[in-house]
Amino acid sequence: MTITHLPILPMPELDRWEMNLQRVAKTPLRCCPDLSRIAERFEAWWHHEVLDRPVFLGKANTNPHRPVQKRTDLLHQPDAWFASKQQDLAQLHYVGDGIPNIRVDFGPVLLGGLLGGRMEFSEHTSWTLPYIRDDWANAPKGHIVDEDLWRLTRELFARVASDAAEKYLIGTPDLGGSADVLSNLRNPETLCMDVMDRPQAIADTIDAIYPVWHETISALYALATQAGAGLIHWLEIWSSKPYMIPACDFNFLIDAASFNRLCLPDIARQVATIKRGVFHLDGPGATRHIDALLEVPYLEAIQFVPGSGTPSLLPWIPMLQKIQAAGRSLYLVCLPQEIPILARQLRPEGLAIQADFGGSASELDQLFESFCRETSARRS
């Protein structure tokens, strides 16, 4: 399959951001004294290799009386929001290669909000209200529309960044994938019909979202660099070079030809812009696109979640092995009981496991110890 290569906007500051990340990686953080070793482990993972063991991430809430929540209700009160996030940080227990961080978290709707979609939040999810009309005349035009939201985002980010240096990392908002942003702004069902009726309007609008994504991610890296802070994205993967997490949950609704024509070129363009990416592959319906994704240059890894109805990863082991065989790394969110099986069945090189864990800190410690025993026994 040939991927259509779209024109790329340059990121002239990439080298400067990388220098900052490499400097941060060499300095112990107050909340993470082992950062340099963790960073080395992740860099090996990015290169489809393994250091002493596969990457392992886990965190547990040490205060059962105070759940850790997004608190999107406080986003417009930066002081209260930041105080709440600091409390979260204090009560979260990280193990393995988990790195304490405070994330500016709007859910995956920020880009849609910046493009003028009204953001809505509930306890468990967030969404933007569709506004693109049937004639597409009011579709995004390649610039940020909601300047107030953009100001708020940068304010919250800068606020965390100024405190984070030498203590913890700052987490970026999930920018989502361009097709997903468009799906929300148009309505997923209507966009499905547009796939048949108006494919060029979809391609043009995805093209118009790209500069806004570019501006947003560039500004976040620049703010973190300016404050001397380290930065990670929503999967909490460290990288000593700038990276991104492309996604396209819309892909489970459409066939391979439509995905390859309408969505893949933009995914490839985003990753080629920043030169390192890990794709968020969500659910069984998305797996039919894996072969196309494995051909995307700079896409070094795949994060796979088997879907909310089928939380077991075990039926997917052949596909996961195929991803590794294609020279890509894996990031898997695993049920605790499946971790030993996956660690046995998959190559340790380029393997990262995040424990899907709701237990206590001591139980998480035990899980991690057992993972270390298992993987070191296998290596020896």
Binding site: H124, W127, C192, V195, M196, L253, I254, G283, S308, G309
Partner: protein, 210 residues
């Protein structure tokens, strides 16, 4: 001369202009409205449903086929009503309280309509009492409950309980959605579980025949 196989093909292709034109031609030619419905529109949607089940077509193709059928029904419905022909079954459907996702629910509603069910769509974030009220009001044979979030599965359980407590004779409850499993359907006491929209017609017919 009315061509019901061409009408069937128009639905399969999602060619709404032709679906409307061919339906009108069949009506003008005095073909029985039941025949137009069963051998043209429903037969076309059945092919689309079967292809969807086999992953030969995907959601966009199903949606445009359903749109073609809906527009053709605009021509056929007055004729059906005049002839006193009613849908084979009546279904009430909605996404349970706390859940705003609707694409899966909409696909099931389309599949049911395509199989000649009368469908009352209650939308998303529907409280249990609204399902009960609608099932009573429309004398439903089937109530379909959808959920996408694991966090709204308890609301599905509550809704099943409320419908059962209302003691509506002959009403069968079907559940579905990404996090729903047969085990969960059994646990909450649903009559049927549709793992995806493509199987929802078969499951509904099966529980209604039981």
């Amino acid at each position: 001369m009315a061509d019901l196989s061409a009408l069937q093909q128009a639905v399969i292709k999602g060619d709404r202009a032709n679906a409307v034109k061919l339906t009108q031609e069949a009506v003008n030619a005095k073909v029985s409205p039941k025949e137009i419905l069963d051998q043209g529109l429903v037969a076309g949607m059945a092919v689309v449903g079967a292809r969807f089940k086999k992953n030969e077509v995907f959601v966009p193709e199903v949606l445009i086929a359903a749109r073609a059928m809906k527009e053709a029904m605009g021509v056929l419905e007055p004729v059906l009503a005049k002839a006193g022909i009613k849908p084979a079954h009546t279904a009430v459907i909605g996404t349970v309280q706390g859940d705003l996702h609707d694409i899966g629910k909409n696909l099931v509603a389309m599949m049911w309509k395509g199989a000649n069910f009368g469908v009352i769509d209650l939308g998303t974030n529907v409280p249990p009492e609204k399902f009960v009220e609608a099932a009573k009001q429309h004398q439903a044979n089937v109530v379909g409950l959808s959920a996408l979030l694991t966090t709204t599965m308890p609301a599905m359980k509550k809704t099943v309980e409320a419908i059962k407590a209302a003691n509506l004779p002959g009403v069968k409850i079907l559940v579905g959605g990404a996090p729903i499993t047969q085990a969960f359907a059994n646990e909450v006491g649903a009559d049927g579980f549709a793992p995806d929209a493509a199987t929802a017609v078969d499951v509904a017919k099966k529980v209604l025949a039981a």
